[in-house]
């Protein structure tokens, strides 16, 4: 098997006296869809923050394609090839859908202050290319018709799609999705699953936090289960489903 795309070793994080994560290790392989599940407060989003450089681990290390992420700013991590979406959608509300995606192209293009002011030919050509690519991505996630709408005026489902388009614009190798199906109905969720499969087949590895077990079980190749900041199980959805520790975490320990 090839080297993992993303590797976390013994990662720990404290918030004051609260232990959000305790010695968690896992590895995500290239081209898989990796699920992260666990009861509320298990540390899933904290783990996401550590992967994407939003927060630094207090102990342990995270590396991407063999490179340690310690000390890198979020824009540097984005340039390495990690993108994410948020549990509570964080679009640029007062920018149009198209502009939101164009922003994502920043990681992959050069932005010269002088060039922007002087409007050089190369600069204008680059901007046209960015806009074209952004329009393609809106089409890819299925909201091309809403390109000029302000992000805040999009429906909830469309906002989630826009977040994915924006993340894809950074050309990630790894896309981290924090509860992508939250608030979606069954039809929308199904369409989302189709979109995510297509993203994966286009060569992007996915890691997602999700509470919709149906989606997780149908979509993920492997699943990591967290509970109170600890890793309690990892395996295929089927294996995890039958793990007694997982059942205990979700339903409470069976009466002895």
């Amino acid at each position: 098997m090839s080297a993992p795309l993303l590797q976390a070793e013994n990662v720990g994080k404290y918030f004051g006296g609260v232990q959000a994560l305790l010695g968690v290790s896992f590895a995500i392989r290239a081209d898989e869809i990796y699920g992260l599940i666990g009861p509320n407060g298990a540390g899933k989003t904290t783990l996401f923050n550590l992967i994407t450089g939003f927060a630094a681990p207090d102990s342990g290390r995270v590396s991407f394609e063999g490179r340690p992420l310690a000390g890198l700013k979020p824009d540097a991590i984005a340039k390495l090839g990690i993108a994410r979406t948020f549990q509570n959608i964080r679009l640029f509300a007062n920018l149009s859908a198209l502009e939101n995606v164009m922003i994502g192209r920043h990681a992959r293009t050069r932005a010269g202050v002088a060039a922007a002011v002087l409007r050089t030919r190369a600069q204008r050509a680059e901007e046209a290319a960015i806009e074209a690519r952004a329009a393609e991505l809106l089409d890819y996630v299925g909201i091309a018709a809403r390109a000029d709408a302000l992000a805040r005026n999009l429906s909830y489902g469309d906002q989630r799609r826009l977040e994915i388009a924006r993340a894809l614009a950074t050309e990630p190798r790894l896309l981290a999705l924090d509860e992508p199906a939250a608030g979606m109905n069954a039809t929308e969720t199904q369409a989302l699953a189709g979109l995510l499969r297509r993203v994966r087949s286009d060569g992007v590895t996915l890691v997602l936090i999700e509470h919709d077990m149906h989606l997780v079980m149908g979509l993920c190749d492997r699943v990591l289960v967290l509970d109170f900041g600890r890793r309690i199980a990892e395996g295929t959805p089927r294996e995890v489903q039958h793990d007694p520790a997982v059942a205990a975490a979700y339903l409470g320990a069976p009466a002895a």
């Binding site: 939003f54 824009d75 964080r90 640029f92 007062n94 164009m102 990681a107 932005a111 901007e127 614009a169």
Partner: protein
């Protein structure tokens, strides 16, 4: 009533013309306040001093070129002055950001605010050391042609100020709303953390914001210098405060707001100065001109704290 009749219409138009000129300058300076506030929520009180440095540098350049008898036309000399003032102001502004504000990025908001006041004092003292404590009179090189409009007069300098400021503001608007740098600036002001995640180097965008604001301030400095014909090392503080009022009037953080706020404030101030004598039976004279900006500031803060065009405050909640 005194203000009916032809003489009164003329006064009104004249004060309107003066006010629009003043307002154009305020708008250019207000943009620097509002852009920096929009992106890092800092009232950069040192910004007025950047205008002062722009005026001072242009004074030196104009003085040197005139003394050298280069035979250059007056407009070329003023252009050269601006060409020198802009990079100097950009450098000063960039350095204050880099040295004073960036290290305080994570600090409580009061810390950079007080630092800004400190920087303002430092820049003033530097101005004092380089350009002396005396008011410096600009050589009168621009032949101030006068045009008559409806009984009032417009000078060629006023016209030039209008044209240049309209050009600069359209250019700025095009940059902010069309280019990727502009989109990146707006994204950073809406959510710096997520902007970073999109591969935007936040520190660079912030530096660019300071630099662009400084360029506008430099041009404003040249305008003020040539318009009033005088520069002084303390000129930046009152001008800066008024431009800040203009930014608040328009809605702090809002770019079109700063333009509108500047113009409105300039007109209010000029009309106020023109009529205050008549209105108060000459108890107060036009030397009370400076009061109007602050009356406007107080009224805005009491009745419409988000400013004329500002909805941003509500958006942030």
């Amino acid at each position: 009533m005194v203000f009916f009749g032809a003489a009164c219409v003329e006064t009104f138009i004249q004060q309107l013309i003066n006010g629009l000129t003043l307002g154009a300058v305020y708008a250019m300076v207000a943009l620097g306040y509002t852009m920096v506030y929009g992106i890092i929520q800092l009232i950069n009180f040192a910004h007025g001093e950047v205008v002062m440095i722009g005026a001072m540098v242009s004074f030196s350049v104009i003085g040197a070129l005139v003394a050298a008898h280069t035979g250059l036309p007056a407009w070329a000399i003023v252009f050269a002055a601006a060409a020198a003032a802009i990079p100097v102001c950009m450098a000063v502004s960039y350095l204050t950001e880099r040295i004073a504000y960036r290290p305080l990025r994570g600090a409580p908001r009061l810390a950079p605010l007080i630092t800004a006041i400190g920087i303002s004092i430092i820049l003033q003292q530097i101005g004092l050391m380089i350009w002396s404590r005396n008011p410096l009179a600009f050589p009168q090189i621009l032949d101030n042609r006068v045009f008559h409009v409806a009984g009032a007069t417009v000078t060629s300098v006023q016209l030039a100020i209008w044209i240049v400021s309209i050009l600069m503001m359209t250019g700025l608007a095009a940059m902010v709303y069309r280019t990727r740098l502009g989109i990146a600036m707006r994204a950073t002001s809406q959510n710096p953390q997520v902007a970073g995640l999109m591969g935007i180097d936040i520190d660079r965008i912030i530096a660019a914001t300071f630099i662009i604001g400084a360029a506008l301030a430099a041009i404003a400095g040249v305008m003020v210098g040539t318009y009033y014909g005088i520069a002084h090392y303390t000129m930046g503080s009152l001008l800066g405060l008024k431009a800040f009022c203009a930014a608040v009037l328009g809605g702090i953080g809002n770019i079109p707001g700063a333009m509108l706020g500047g113009i409105v404030l300039g007109v209010v101030e000029a009309l106020g100065a023109g009529y205050i004598g008549d209105l108060t039976n000459n108890w107060f004279g036009s030397n009370y001109q400076d009061v109007f900006a602050f009356i406007v500031l107080i009224l805005v803060l009491v009745f419409r704290p988000s400013g004329l065009l500002g909805e941003r405050v509500a958006d942030r909640v």
